[in-house]
Symmetry: C3
């Protein structure tokens, strides 16, 4: 059994932009030659989330729009009263969606559905460079 912890960075425009990171995660798995185990994908920071979606242009707009109904930018947040950085809604959205995702892999492949991609959703109110952590716990034989 082995543990591999890797990081990569992703640029986003914020405002709950949805960014496909599936290939980055899969590349780490391929390089490390692990066959069976668990991939944990985690974003450091309190204004971004990791989840899965079908990564296509329609949902890339639908997800931010639905988040705008859940925790509107422009509403009043106590966070903003205090810190004046205008991203209270970003924090609330991030806490709701969560920063971590667990994806099992087997025979060297992430066990995602055909139209299921791993995505960063960056809720901050400005462009950000994000650090994504991918940790694999697994073994070389199935």
């Amino acid at each position: 059994m082995e543990i591999v912890t890797e990081r990569f960075t992703v640029s986003s425009r914020g405002n709950s932009e949805v960014v496909d990171i599936t290939e980055r995660v899969a590349a780490i798995l391929t390089q490390r030659k692990l066959r069976e185990g668990l991939a944990t994908i985690f974003v450091s920071g309190s204004t971004a989330s990791i989840t899965t979606t079908e990564f296509e242009p329609g949902l890339r707009r639908d997800i931010p729009e639905a988040l705008q109904r859940l925790a509107p930018q422009g509403a009043r947040y106590h966070h903003d009263d205090m810190w004046h950085d205008g991203n209270g809604h970003s924090h609330v959205r991030a806490s709701f969606m969560g920063p971590s995702l667990s994806v099992p892999f087997s025979q060297g492949e992430l066990l995602l559905g055909t139209w299921q991609q791993i995505v960063l959703v960056d809720h901050d109110n400005r462009p950000r460079e994000r650090t994504i952590i991918v940790q694999l716990i697994g073994q070389e034989t199935t």
Copy 2:
């Protein structure tokens, strides 16, 4: 330390139906005789979620009703404009609730609360056969 990756299928009617899968997960743990470790429950596909709830008739209705307020069926989704499959709301709900759940086990038992069940919530707009992946990472001794 061992890794076990198993799959089973569950039928659902969709429309955010809540389906109790606790016994299916617990059965895999019992068969494999692991005593201490982590169970990851993951649903392949981008219109379903895994979470926990008290599985009782009231909440089986409350959860879909609350999801209907969060991401209403009948609202306009760019996904539907593009793909015409009418399940934009299903995708949004699935991305919000997430496809993975992590449950530690100890002394051969999942460490759930007494009234806490592991459930599939199937958001699609039609009946589906779902593949659930259960991965155990653990050992035979506590």
Copy 3:
């Protein structure tokens, strides 16, 4: 590779109070001298959640207020019609936010952002004593 499963209890006032548990989780990691691996944080029970946030007074109010819009206390829930415990909204909120969080650690440190704390969000409608499970899967060398 080792597996460590520990429990601790936390008092909360309920009503989606946000409680910082980062130090409790970090202390377990320090005691066990694990350097590289995965921390799973799980709350037993169906009316509480684990997530991350910037733990500061503004967001401690914003998160309950946003949850009140998502699943209002005072709305009608079938759960309450049946069980008359008045916490239907607590269950719905808990299922949405989820009971589990996965945080990788490396070089003996949880890989959280600087302003990212691990929190319990207790949605019940009364004060509760909560059991939090922390499970570490890891090794002593990086």
